[in-house]
Amino acid sequence: MTEADDRLKALFALDEPPARDAVFSTAVMEQVMRRRFQEDVALLSAASLAGGGALWVIWPILQPALVAISQGLAPALGGLALAACAAMILGGRVRSALGLEA
């Protein structure tokens, strides 16, 4: 490299931005995160629309099936719900009676 090249390089070096620039990096990452958020929102919206559309299409088939299943399962689900309530209510008393309550 000649002396002239060194001089040229030194002059170019005066335009050099800092090696670390938190303000610039933060501004870039803010835009990246904003872009990512927009992409996520677009994806979720598209998925929701597709799901809603699919449900609308299959609802005439799904509805009778759900009604039939729910009628069959209603007694069993009712029993399960009662058992869960009883466990929650009595569970505390049993634990305190046994001296296990903190």
């Binding site: 090249d5 040229l8 002059l11 170019f12 050099e16 610039f24 990096s25 990452m29 990246v32 872009r35």
Partner: protein, 177 residues
């Protein structure tokens, strides 16, 4: 760990969706990209805007960056294309030129007349020649790396650099042997 292998690791992580890795790539390459764009377009504020746009585009396209490729050259290539697009948009250029004059920092180092002469000579170079000079004479890119970044044949890059260098030396009044 060498800078190239660290870059490769960061690129792989960013390709997997890590914003933290991408943020480190931004930190590592912002200086080179901004310096190149400042020299290529001569307008500091426009160059920084272009650099931000470049990183944003890089985030979207990071999946296309092949393993082992130079991140610095890839970013400069995207930045250069964005600069060419911006140059074509004349109205935007005029507004930025005005802002540039307002925002232009006062630099105390170096002989002001040399800086002005260099700036004027750079402004007169054709865009392609200017980009080649900015990469190879100012930023230590190899000719091959510049050719890859600017998507130009190697011979064209060499001839741009040779002509550009001669014009800059002439503008600075340097007797080149």
């Amino acid at each position: 760990m060498s800078p190239a292998s660290l870059d490769e690791e960061l690129v792989a992580a960013a390709q997997g969706g890590s914003t933290e890795a991408f943020s480190r790539l931004v930190e590592r390459h912002q200086q080179a990209l901004r310096a190149f764009l400042r020299r290529a377009c001569g307008d500091w504020s426009a160059a920084d805007d272009l650099a931000q746009e470049t990183f944003l585009a890089a985030w979207s396209r990071i999946g296309r960056l092949r393993a082992g490729a130079s991140v610095r050259a890839w970013l400069c290539g995207i930045g250069y294309n964005k600069h060419l697009t911006a140059v074509r948009s004349a109205g935007r250029e005029r507004a930025r030129a005005k802002r540039y004059e307002e925002d232009r920092p006062v630099v105390s180092e170096g002989k002001p007349e040399d800086r002005l002469a260099l700036e004027a000579a750079m402004a007169e170079l054709p865009a392609e020649q200017r980009a080649c000079v900015a990469l190879c004479l100012a930023a230590d890119f190899s000719h091959a790396e510049a050719a890859e970044a600017l998507e130009m044949p190697l011979g064209t890059v060499k001839s741009h650099i040779s002509r550009g260098r001669a014009r800059l030396m002439q503008a600075l009044g340097v007797c080149d042997d």
